[in-house]
């Protein structure tokens, strides 16, 4: 029973850390344009807190002190706005969605708490990195320095700052972020009843949820979440809304893109893709585009410099590429066809493991029927093109045994990015092209 109470308390802590400091009660005048919905507040605060975690992860600060500091700020804000927040929580508006969120959170939290098995990579890499942060050691003592630290830092932070200090209590935050990202997506559906939104939420969860492969200590959902946020802000930038809303979305996009390379190495490529996609968005100032390019480039260079020079790691990526191997695979037609065949086969296989990927592909091809919407949704096409190029490129040049590599990583690689395309479905529903 104590563990169940601890899980309840952990949800309250997550709520405190993600609903504050910026919401419609605290910063109503400054950011009113973007925090009209509570889910947008969650989105802003999550991006903010993840950036704070990223910053703190480079220093040897005691996790308890950071927690107390953040808790003090958030509790103070809760105290000063207590009546309004309580009224909002217990209001009948969207009551079903609020209840559903809490209920689904507990479904996930109990599942994580009852099934303690960690995945292979989680036990081999991520847990040892988390232990390092849990023991208040610095990033310079971190094992497996080639893999980035953000996910492990978050895991260690909430593990350390829980009453019972059980490992899984830290992992619950990833479950929570995943659910927030799903609800943020559903919140973007316009003119739909709460019941339809709930069905949409359940479908998204059922089509992307696979505990054994992803929530067991892997970092893939973190990339999924960040790409959902990127997609939402990009779509915001792609529509002609008011300037302050666009400016907020622009800064959110920058802050989210900064996080990507610090979650997993694939994030380096995804941040480049996001940057390229942003360049194709109309009615954006060229200066803004170049500022974004500059920030993304600096961020990637810092990451590479940090791993290669400061942490003195031989290989930045899981395996090293040599020009000989790359050219041997690309210019050997027989080998190339063999590889492309297997990559395509496992790509299709993964679609059935996470049906959302299949739905994404269908919705993208569906768009071809409606050419007038093609231009508005080109961000998804560009991202898909770059993503497929990345997937095929990675497996064509891999030095690991191809089939083993595909079996162990393809589905997770696709899961990471499938969140990005959900907003295409949302956009199609909002434009009444697809009816739910």
């Amino acid at each position: 029973m104590t563990e169940i109470l601890q899980i309840f308390f952990q949800l309250f802590i997550f709520f405190l850390f993600t609903f504050f400091p910026i919401n419609k009660f605290t910063f109503s005048k400054i950011l009113f344009v973007y925090i009209d919905s509570n889910y947008n507040s969650f989105l802003i605060n999550i991006i903010l807190i993840l950036n704070i975690f990223l910053l703190f992860s480079f220093f040897e600060f005691n996790l308890n002190y950071i927690f107390i500091g953040l808790l003090f700020i958030n509790l103070s804000l809760l105290f000063f706005n207590f009546t309004n927040i309580i009224k909002d929580i217990f209001s009948k508006k969207n009551a079903h969605l609020k209840f559903a969120f809490i209920f689904i959170c507990f479904c996930f939290f109990f599942k994580t708490a009852a099934n303690l098995e960690l995945g292979w990579d989680a036990l081999s890499y991520w847990l040892s990195k988390t232990n390092n942060f849990y023991n208040n050691k610095s990033i310079f003592e971190m094992p497996h320095p080639a893999s980035p630290q953000l996910g492990s830092y978050i895991w260690g932070f909430f593990w350390k700052n829980s009453f019972m200090q059980k490992e899984y209590l830290g992992r619950l935050f990833i479950d929570y972020l995943y659910l927030i990202s799903i609800f943020v997506t559903a919140d973007s559906l316009k003119k739909q009843s709460n019941f339809k939104k709930l069905i949409f939420i359940f479908c998204l969860i059922l089509f992307t949820f696979d505990y054994n492969n992803t929530l067991s200590g892997y970092q893939d959902y973190l990339l999924f979440i960040l790409l959902v946020f990127c997609s939402k802000t990009l779509l915001e930038l792609n529509t002609k809304s008011n300037s302050s809303r666009i400016l907020t979305a622009y800064f959110l996009l920058i802050m989210t893109t900064i996080l990507l390379p610090w979650v997993k190495n694939e994030g380096i490529f995804y941040s480049i893709f996001i940057m390229i996609v942003y360049f194709f968005i109309d009615h954006q100032l060229l200066s803004k585009k170049f500022l974004f390019l500059f920030i993304v480039a600096i961020n990637i260079l810092v990451r590479l410099f940090f791993v290669k020079v400061i942490l003195a790691t031989d290989n930045i990526f899981q395996f090293s590429f040599t020009p000989d191997v790359i050219f041997a695979n690309i210019f050997n037609i027989k080998e190339l066809i063999y590889r492309i065949y297997y990559i395509s086969f496992y790509l299709i296989r993964s679609m059935f493991q996470y049906p959302l990927i299949l739905i994404n592909f269908i919705s993208i091809f569906f768009l071809f029927r409606y050419f007038k919407y093609l231009n508005n949704n080109k961000i998804f096409f560009i991202f898909l093109f770059l993503n497929l190029l990345f997937i095929y490129g990675t497996y064509v040049v891999t030095v690991s045994p191809l089939v083993w590599h595909l079996q162990t990583s393809m589905s997770r690689l696709l899961l990471q990015t499938c969140g990005f395309y959900i907003f295409l479905i949302v956009d199609l529903v909002n434009k009444n092209i697809i009816k739910i």
Binding site: F103, I104, C107, A114, N115, L116, E117, S124, S128, K166
Partner: protein, 143 residues
């Protein structure tokens, strides 16, 4: 009074039956009730033991036993798993890898692994066997 509350509950169920069916469906998909029950009846340690096994696989139970009985002060141990599994050491937050190999645990060591053991050049004459259970062994270096 009770009848009033009962009527209100019936009214809520009637007006929200579609949501209730949806929630129940989701609860069954995620094994909500089973997981809730597991949390009520099994301790954290028991769940870990059921997940990682006693002696076999990652052998959480055996390592924990050795840690509690033989590594009271010096929480360092060198673990060699003869089956292919990720490191077991990281499951214990206070356990460190003993690079000097003063305390050594062999996991999943069977007769068929004698070749692997020979390749490792492990000098058994310098160690004393303190504990053995099935295919799990704990050796301590003689000082």
């Amino acid at each position: 009074m009770i009848a009033n509350i009962f009527n209100k509950i019936i009214l809520i169920i009637k007006s929200n039956y579609n949501y209730i069916i949806l929630f129940l469906f989701f609860a069954s998909v995620t094994n909500f009730f089973k997981n809730f029950n597991i949390l009520l009846v099994r301790t954290y340690d028991e769940r870990l033991l059921r997940t990682y096994g006693y002696c076999g696989g990652i052998s959480y139970g055996y390592i924990k036993k050795i840690k509690n009985n033989y590594l009271l002060y010096d929480k360092k141990v060198y673990i060699i798993n003869f089956d292919t599994y990720p490191s077991s050491t990281d499951l214990f937050i206070d356990l460190k890898t003993d690079t000097d190999k003063n305390n050594v645990i062999f996991l999943n060591l069977r007769d068929a692994d004698s070749d692997k053991l020979k390749d490792m050049n492990f000098n058994f004459s310098k160690y004393v066997l303190l504990n053995r259970e099935d295919s799990c062994y704990f050796y301590k270096k003689i000082k």
